[in-house]
């Protein structure tokens, strides 16, 4: 026999709210942070940064959806798409970051013949 607490938990699991999307974004963010902090390959570090940016984008779009459901006097309504506009700006930023980062990576590889982050120590004091 199922307890009442379990049933309400299942109900909350099956009813997809804004919090579900935020938790998914947090999980992706954590994966990206682990990748940035532990990997040696610069390409994979850059990909982890893309994961982090995507987690932020997911949060922005989910909260934009949440805000659209707010009453109009609080700034809500169907036209409240600010989060989505921000997500587009973040995607622009990610494109710029990837282009410059990969350019730096090519210059670095040409000089040192490696792609490991811990061998980038020219500026280390």
């Amino acid at each position: 026999m199922l307890s009442a607490q379990f049933e309400t938990d299942m109900e909350a699991m099956l009813h997809i709210s804004t919090l579900h999307y935020l938790v998914l974004g947090a999980a992706l963010f954590l994966l990206g942070v682990i990748g940035v902090l532990t990997r040696r390959n610069v390409v994979i570090v850059l990909m982890s940064i893309e994961l982090i940016l995507n987690a932020v984008n997911l949060n922005l779009v989910a909260l934009s959806r949440y805000w659209q459901g707010m009453p109009a006097h609080m700034g809500g309504g169907p036209g409240a798409l600010h989060g989505q506009v921000f997500a587009i700006f973040v995607i622009t930023d990610a494109a710029a970051e990837a282009a410059v980062g990969l350019g730096i990576l090519i210059a670095f590889f040409r000089n040192k013949e490696t792609v490991n982050v811990d061998e980038v120590n020219l500026l280390k004091w």
């Binding site: 919090l19 579900h20 700006f89």
Partner: protein, 173 residues
């Protein structure tokens, strides 16, 4: 139009995204990581569709999965990947890194369990509107376009990125 089987699709896409993310940070071969990242990005585009954001979903597919990831794959092909596969994949501080990430995860869990009531029933009931037109109104409209200046600054950012990429990839820097 009412969404169909939202929990099923949410958990399916969330599972694909999490597994893709784990593969990105654990694979030895950078090409496999890039392919896993493309899968994650496409699943995320589907999640945007579930959130009634078709324009952002299209931008995600065209720009992220189509543009940025091609750039990544191109650079992976340019650099020598055979040698890096034989080396150690994780750095010496990996334990500290995972501990720091776990601390951050604990912070997230604390925030989301304490702040659960901030997000009451997220069910929104409004008619599906022209999403792309709404985004364009915020970006370009003469009166309602609050982000027009930011949009122009974004073009400047892209110009800087182009110059930076060209200078960095020059033969002698």
């Amino acid at each position: 139009m009412n969404p169909v089987a939202t929990p099923f699709f949410f958990y399916l896409l969330a599972g694909i995204m999490i597994i893709g993310g784990i593969l990105v940070i654990t694979r030895k071969n950078a090409v496999h990581s890039a392919l896993a990242l493309i899968t994650t990005l496409l699943a995320q585009a589907a999640i945007y569709l579930m959130l009634y954001a078709p324009f952002v979903a299209g931008v995600q597919i065209i720009l992220y999965a189509g543009g940025i990831m091609v750039l990544f794959l191109f650079v992976i092909m340019l650099i020598n990947i055979e040698r890096t596969q034989k080396e150690r994949q994780f750095n010496k501080q990996w334990l500290v890194g995972i501990a720091a990430a776990a601390a951050l995860g604990g912070l997230f869990i604390a925030v989301y369990t304490k702040g659960k009531t901030l997000f009451p029933e997220g069910r929104v009931s409004y008619e599906e509107v022209q999403n792309t037109q709404g985004v364009a109104t915020l970006l370009f409209d003469r009166h309602a376009g609050v982000y027009m200046f930011a949009f122009e600054i974004a073009s400047l950012l892209l110009l800087v990125a182009i110059i930076g990429a060209v200078v960095m990839a020059k033969k002698r820097i």
